[in-house]
């Protein structure tokens, strides 16, 4: 329990990840799901950078006689820089697909997008029966 209180930043990252995952699962609008996806991604980056933190550390820039043994770990930062770029590329592409989806179907609600096939079949069947009876 005291270890959990010491690692409060990891716990915060896990909490944010679960909030993002809840949004992606439960919300019906696609743009809300994309916001949830972004929250999940930033929570993972937060966890990763907190792993490399050193108590009373300084930024890894060797200027003015900075002491290399007090610097925080630079490797997670280099990896997460690439991660942030990939996250923004995925968001941009997903938003372009959202615009195309709206132009094609006129709605952004996932339930309606998935229900349209069954409803169209039921309407077609009801229309055919009416024609057969008339």
């Amino acid at each position: 329990m005291s270890q959990l209180l010491h690692n409060y930043q990891y716990a915060a990252a896990m909490l944010l990840f679960c909030i993002g995952l809840y949004t992606v699962i439960v919300r019906r609008n696609i743009i809300k799901k994309l916001i949830g996806l972004n929250i999940m991604e930033t929570a993972v980056f937060f966890l990763y950078i907190s792993l490399g933190y050193l108590n009373d550390g300084i930024a890894p820039i060797r200027v003015g006689g900075a002491d290399p043994s007090r610097m925080v770990n630079p490797i997670p930062q280099a990896l997460i820089l690439t991660g942030i770029v990939v996250a923004v590329s995925v968001t941009a592409l997903a938003l372009a697909l959202v615009i195309l989806l709206y132009r094609q179907f006129g709605t952004l609600d996932v339930d309606r997008l998935f229900r349209d096939e069954d409803e169209a079949e039921a309407e077609a069947k009801a229309g055919a029966e009416k024609e057969g009876a008339a």
Binding site: Y8, Q9, A12, L15, L16, I19, G20, Y22, T23, R27, R28, N29, I31, K32, L34, I35, G36, N38, I39, T42, F45, F46, I49, S50, Y53, G57, I58, A59, P60, I61, V72, Q77, I80, L81, I84, V85, V88, T91, A92, L95, V98, I99, Y102, L108, D109
Partner: protein, 84 residues
Amino acid sequence: MGTTLNLIFIVLMVATALLAVFARDLLAAVIIFSVYSLIMALMWQRLQAPDLALTEAAVGAGVTTVLFVVAIFKTRRREEEEEE
């Protein structure tokens, strides 16, 4: 002092994330998401990562938010659909 500031930032981050998730109006959700991005950029500075703070500030508040706003404007949806 250091721990208190970190805790304040973390509480603000969780609060804005929850508000962005539960906002009905999509435009309000996106603006709250840009505030979340800003507080995350400040958090990177607290973790002694200045390159990441620059990148997150430029990308989160500059590019991602505006792309979201353009997508909302194009799809002409101001309100989210009503839940069941």
